[in-house]
């Protein structure tokens, strides 16, 4: 699912192996390749540019420090980095006093545009066959309530109970929305992998 690389460019796995061998140029290349994606992920969680930049730097430092723990048998480099970045961003959100302010902003977003997560997918992008647009297309096909439940769980680290309280929805309904939504995305990704 990773966007295609320029011909001759090292794969993510090759870069990770070089980082494990303490090659800082490989880290610089990995940064160039993925800083935009990881920054977007962090921003989606904490909604603050300066804090997101600081966290991005800390996350790439952690990638450097923890590279020895990466195993290709357990998954792909981008998945590992995203998991790490998400955890750090959610930890940061919870630790900071700004949590209350973020909650307020989230409340407004939740009330105003529950489907804002992937609203920017366009037919033009999909026609271009861009992997990112195809993923957005899979997600944007979900009913808004399922998108919202997944958004709150993944990007805000909320439990099912917290989502139920936040959206004033029965717990069982939240569980169903999450299960159905995640299954649809998982199945959509499987089809996407088969196409690529």
């Amino acid at each position: 699912m990773v966007p295609p690389l320029e011909p001759g460019a090292p794969t993510d796995l090759e870069l990770m192996e070089r980082i494990q061998a303490r090659d800082d140029d490989a880290l610089a290349q990995l940064y160039d390749r993925y800083n935009g994606i990881l920054k977007a992920l962090i921003l989606r969680v904490i909604h603050n540019e300066a804090e997101a930049d600081d966290l991005l730097q800390e996350i790439f430092m952690e990638i450097w420090n923890q590279a020895k723990n990466f195993s290709a048998q357990k998954g792909k480099p981008l998945g590992w980095m995203v998991t790490l970045a998400r955890r750090r961003a959610i930890d940061g959100l919870r630790k900071k006093q700004a949590y209350a302010r973020a909650e307020e902003r989230l409340q407004n977003e939740t009330e105003q545009q529950p489907d804002a997560w992937v609203h920017n997918a366009t037919e033009d992008e999909i026609v271009l066959g861009d992997t990112r647009a195809l993923i957005r297309k899979v997600i944007s096909r979900l009913p808004p309530a399922q998108q919202q439940a997944i958004d709150l769980a993944f990007f805000k680290g909320m439990s099912q109970r917290e989502i139920a309280a936040k959206t004033n929805t029965p717990l069982g309904t939240v569980k169903t929305r999450l299960e159905l939504g995640l299954k649809k995305i998982y199945d959509g990704l499987k089809d996407l992998r088969d196409e690529l």
Partner: protein, 78 residues
């Protein structure tokens, strides 16, 4: 727990959305399904990658990379 239920729970597990009371049952099923279960969980982590790729990339401050690489070089020095 049958495998279909385990698959649903695995997808919740990887995004951290299993409730505490579901975790114990999930861990039992995880042991029961062994490698087949672990392979499925590993595939579920692709959801993380997909969620990140669904976002429009954001521009970072130009100084971040410089600061990062300076820290890495300093750490490499004996």
């Amino acid at each position: 727990m049958n495998f279909e239920r385990f698959q649903n729970q695995s997808r919740l597990y990887v995004i951290g959305a299993l409730e505490p009371e579901e975790t114990e049952e999930f861990e039992k099923a995880r042991k029961k399904f062994g490698k087949k279960g672990e392979d499925f969980i590993a595939k579920c982590y692709d959801l993380h990658e997909a969620f990140a790729l669904s976002l429009r990339p954001a521009k970072s401050s130009d100084t971040i990379k410089e600061r990062l690489m300076a820290m890495v070089k300093a750490k490499k020095e004996p």
